[in-house]
């Protein structure tokens, strides 16, 4: 049964082949009490694709990506990550979470652990690496996000930009196939936004599959393969950055862009 749904969903999006899709979202609804946060969402993300989701606040962007690693439970429809269906089966959920990394708006680092232990947490406690192997890997990732010298500090001793890079390293330590970014720069002081965006750009260039919810239109224009505009729980318009930013078709997209640009 799940196979049929998979095929069905793949027909709906135009340009991508189903074999390429790593994330398939099919007819997904999500309600909070009476409020419909997601309405009939169809979407696919291909391997190595960078998708940026934009839209006014309360439009359901965050809810959408939080459904992908089941921090929110969708009420109807189907979500597949790398062929695994998100069901109530806890083993499937764990498997999908292992393969998707997430970076949060508020970093959500573990304040009682050092930076190094934060990053080593996933490899050690989920993938079962030895302490020394996990810390070695963590150190590599901290070097990659350019803050190896902060390894023995606690999160609160770091700047916001550094904390978010630690959070990025922590997610990457699980060697995820997909990275989800939930407004990663919204809580940062303006002068720190770029250091995080640069790290994300580098990641995109290395071929990571990414779904990014953000208000950074410059980043979307430069890095995104596709931009999705959401409003009111619906996907209003999908297109390349040029299509969306320079030549939006829908009235709502135009209105939103005129407000923020």
């Amino acid at each position: 049964m799940s196979n049929e749904v998979f095929k069905d969903a793949s027909k709906m999006s135009g340009d991508r082949e189903s074999d390429d899709a790593i994330i398939v979202i099919d007819s997904v609804y999500k309600r909070f009490k009476d409020f419909e946060a997601l309405k009939n969402i169809h979407m696919q993300v291909g391997r190595k694709e960078v998708v940026v989701v934009i839209g006014p606040s309360g439009s359901g962007k965050s809810t959408l990506i939080r459904c992908i690693n089941r921090l929110e439970v969708h009420d109807e429809g189907h979500i597949f990550v790398d062929g695994t269906a998100l069901t109530t089966d806890i083993r499937n959920i764990q498997e999908i979470r292992r393969e998707t990394g997430m970076v949060f708006q508020n970093f959500n680092l573990f304040p009682h652990l050092t930076v190094l232990t934060n990053v080593a947490m996933g490899p050690r406690r989920v993938r079962g690496l030895s302490k020394s192997a996990a810390e070695e890997l963590a150190m590599e990732l901290l070097t990659r996000v350019k803050i190896p010298e902060q390894a023995d500090k606690f999160p609160a001793q770091l700047s916001g930009g550094q904390q978010q890079r630690v959070a990025l390293a922590r997610a990457l330590a699980m060697t995820p196939k997909v990275m989800l970014f939930d407004e990663p720069t919204s809580a940062l002081d303006p002068e720190m936004i770029n250091e995080v965006l640069d790290a994300m750009k580098e990641l995109a260039q290395e071929g990571m599959t990414m779904i990014v919810v953000t208000h950074e239109m410059g980043f979307a224009r430069e890095v995104a393969d596709r931009v999705i505009f959401m409003d009111n729980g619906e996907i209003v318009e999908v297109g390349t950055p040029t299509e969306i930013f320079d030549n939006p078709k829908e009235e709502r997209t135009k209105k939103f862009l005129s407000q923020i640009l």
Binding site: G101, N108, H112, G122, D152
Partner: protein
């Protein structure tokens, strides 16, 4: 100095008035206390009865067991403290270090010195030396945890290891002497140490069950907590003394010490559970979400992420519970006819030599002193632990 006084004590007419009045009251109280302690007080009642106040009629040939348990307690506490990560910014000069040591151990040392003087006994001096040695040994052993392969030991095994040594010794001691021979501060001390050690894990379990997603666990834990918190401790102790006989034949019923331990443990655990639950609720939702996003299981999220943060957030409230427990051990005296410190204290004023001489003030002052020292040390150490663990948080 004069400027300081003018600024802080005599700023306005009301200020000056308040300063004069409170200084007078303070002066009168101090003079009274001084007179009582150094002039009028008849402290020979304490000196003569020192042994009975401290350990009751505990048989001399078994005293070595008491000694070993106390040394083990000192060793374990020192070892746990020594094993804590040192704050990276704690490099201090020698005077600051000495001042820190004085702040931590000054009061204990003074009390020990007082007891040794009162005892006027070489054995007491020697025992003081052993205690010092066990503290040093414990600290050094604890440091091994930070520097050697002991690092690899999971935290809970390390704590369990340290806690079990004194527990085993205490239970051996309790089993060796007959109840009638037990007495004095030793009972309060043992009751407190054992009940604190046992109530902590129970409290954690209750707090976790109360937040569990399994309805049965949640319901059981809630019922338990609300029942225990709804009953006065004294009533529970009385019940343990009387009601147990209904269910268990008195020949095999555990003696009063074990009943007291059971009641204190169950009682404190219920309060502790609520304190810890409060701590768990203070942890932002994002912490568990970050754990989930990594793929950690619920159990690992609890024990690696939320619980450690929750426990540290409520250290003051937890220690508060332990201090209450320590002082409440005096209730066991009346409720279970255990010959603990307060009971002994009032009994010695009825000895032939002292009967009707109103020496209850001297004994109560001594009893209060011992409890105050214990409570104050706990409170100070809790602040220290809080600071030490709070690195980077504040």
């Amino acid at each position: 100095m004069i400027t300081w006084m003018r600024r802080n004590l005599f700023r306005s007419v009301t200020d000056s008035l308040l300063t004069v009045v409170s200084a007078t009251i303070l002066g009168i109280v101090l003079v009274q206390v001084f007179q009582f302690v150094f002039i009028n007080g008849r402290w020979e009642i304490i000196q003569v009865n020192l042994k009975i106040l401290l350990v009751g009629r505990f048989p001399d040939e078994l005293m070595y067991l008491v000694g070993f348990s106390i040394l083990a307690i000192c060793f374990s506490i020192a070892s746990l403290a020594g094993g804590l990560e040192r704050a990276p910014n704690s490099i201090q000069n020698l005077p600051a270090k000495l001042w820190g040591l004085f702040q931590r151990f000054g009061l204990i040392a003074a009390t020990a010195a007082l007891l040794i003087v009162l005892a006027a006994d070489f054995d007491a001096v020697a025992f003081g030396g052993y205690v010092l040695m066990s503290i040093v040994a414990g600290t050094l052993f604890g440091r091994l945890r930070r520097t050697t392969a002991l690092k690899k030991l999971p935290g809970w095994i390390w704590v369990l290891l340290n806690a079990s040594l004194p527990m085993v010794l205490i239970f051996i001691t309790i089993g060796q002497a007959a109840l009638e021979e037990w007495g004095g501060f030793l009972i309060n001390f043992y009751l407190a140490v054992v009940s604190i050690t046992l109530s902590f894990p129970l409290g954690v379990l209750l707090a976790l069950s109360r937040r569990s997603s399994l309805p049965l666990l949640r319901w059981l834990s809630t019922t338990y907590i609300e029942l225990i918190r709804g009953a006065p401790l004294f009533v529970l102790l009385l019940l343990a003394g009387v009601a147990l006989e209904f269910f268990i034949p008195s020949s095999i019923a555990p003696d009063a010490i074990f009943r007291a331990i059971t009641v204190f443990t169950l009682f404190t655990a219920a309060y502790l559970a609520e304190v810890i639950r409060g701590g768990l609720q203070s942890i932002p939702k994002g912490q568990a979400e970050a754990g989930k996003a990594l793929g950690l299981s619920t159990v690992k999220i609890t024990f690696l992420i939320t619980l450690p943060q929750a426990l540290r957030n409520v250290i003051p409230a937890q220690i508060g519970q332990f201090i209450s427990l320590f002082k409440d051990t005096t209730l066991a005296g009346v409720a279970l006819s255990v010959f603990e410190l307060l009971n002994v204290g009032s009994a010695i004023t009825k000895q032939d030599d002292y009967l009707g001489q109103g020496l209850i003030y001297e004994t109560l002052a001594f009893v209060a002193l011992l409890f105050w020292v214990g409570s104050y040390v706990m409170s100070r150490e809790s602040q220290r632990i809080e600071k030490k663990l709070g690195v980077g948080l504040r």
